[in-house]
Chain length 193, copies 2
Amino acid sequence: MNYLDNIKRAFFQLHPISEDGWNDFSGRLMLKSFRKGDFLTREGQVENYIYFLNKGATRNYFIKDGKEFTVDFLFEGDFVTAYYSFITREPSPVFIELLEDAEAVAIHYQSLHAFYSNHSDGEKVGRLIAESQYVKRLRKEMDLLSLTAEERYAALMKKNPELVSGISVKHLSSYLGIHPESLSRIRKLYVRN
Amino acid sequence: MNYLDNIKRAFFQLHPISEDGWNDFSGRLMLKSFRKGDFLTREGQVENYIYFLNKGATRNYFIKDGKEFTVDFLFEGDFVTAYYSFITREPSPVFIELLEDAEAVAIHYQSLHAFYSNHSDGEKVGRLIAESQYVKRLRKEMDLLSLTAEERYAALMKKNPELVSGISVKHLSSYLGIHPESLSRIRKLYVRN
DNA sequence: CGCCGAGTTGAACTGAATCAAGAAACGTGG
DNA sequence: CCACGTTTCTTGATTCAGTTCAACTCGGCG
C-alpha cells in the first residue's frame, strides 16, 4: 500500500485506463508534504498543479474588500486545485490553504497536458474532471440563489455532517455566505441532546 | 453562408480540428426551429442535446417552492444545454425556455459521445466546453457570495449592458438573486439622461 | 497564571422581502 | 386598429433576516 494506491483508485473511479496509460500518468506524479497553515496556492499566482490529497484538508477562499469568502473545503481522497486559474492560466483569485498537516500527490500542468496528448483516454479523464467540477459549482450556485442561510446550513448538515462539526464557525459561515454571528445563532436552533 | 458556418466558427475557436473531424461532427448536426415560449428542455427530463444558437435567446432557470430562479441567459452564438443533466444523465433541475423565436443546431448525446470516441480532438473539445462552463459558474458563485444585490447589478450592467436592457425585470432579478421590486428600486438609482 | 483568538449573546440597524395598489405594456380577438 | 384582459413594472408601507458593533465567555497554550 503506497502513496499511489489511493489516487489510482480515485482515478479509475472516474475512468479506468490501460496499464500503460496509468504507468505514464503515475510516472508524472510528485509526492509533496505540507504543514497546517501552508498554502497550495496564493491569490495572484497561476496554478500549475492539480493535487490529490492522501491526507489532510484544504479551504479554498478568495478575498474581497478584506473579507474572506470560502468557495470549497476539500478532504482526503479529493482532487484539489485552483481550477479557475489552472484552466485559464490567469492569476488565481483563490487561495488554497491547508487546514491540517497534509500529504498530497501533485501533477504539473504541462505534464498533465502531455498526458492528455498521449492518450485519448487522458483527454477523457480531463473532461470528466471538468464536468464533475461544473456539477459541484452549479449545485452550490443553485443553493445560494434559492435557499436562505438557515436552509443552506440545514442542507449542509444533512449532506456533510462531518464538515459541519470539523470546521470552524468562522470558515463555515464564509462558505455559507453569512457572518459568524449569524451562523452561531442559526446553530443554536439545531442544538438537541 | 449556411447554418453551419456560425457553429464551425464557434467550434474552431474552442479548438481547431481536421477537416475529417469537422465533417464527422457536422454530419451529426440537426437544424431545429423554435418559437418564443417553447422549451428546449423541461425540468425532470434528461437532457439529450447540446444546441448551438444561430438565432434567438434562452433563459435557463429552475423552480424551488414555486419560485423561479434564473441561472443563465444565452444568446446567438452560444452553446446551450441543460449541462448538469447532460453530464449526469439525471433528470434536469433546470428548464430552458426560448425568449424569442430561434434557430438552433443540435447534436444528440450519443452522437456527441461517438464523436468523442472517434477523435481524441473530440474529447479535447468536450473538455474545453466543460472547463469554460466551470469558469462561468465559479465567477457567478463568487459574485453571489461577495457582492450585494446592487453591486451585482452594477457589475452586470458594466459587463453585459445589452442583457440589462433586453431582459425583463422579472427575469433579470431572478438571475441576480433578488426580487423584481428590489431590482426596480436599484434601477432607479442608475437612471441618468 | 494571564493572555488571546474563537465563539456566543445582545441590541440596534439596514438591505432586501413581502404585501398591496396603481400604472404601463402587451397580445389577442373582434 | 382598437378594446379588453393579463401580465409586468413601479412605488409605498411594513416586516424580517442577517449585519454590525460591542461586551462577555471559554478553552488553549506560552
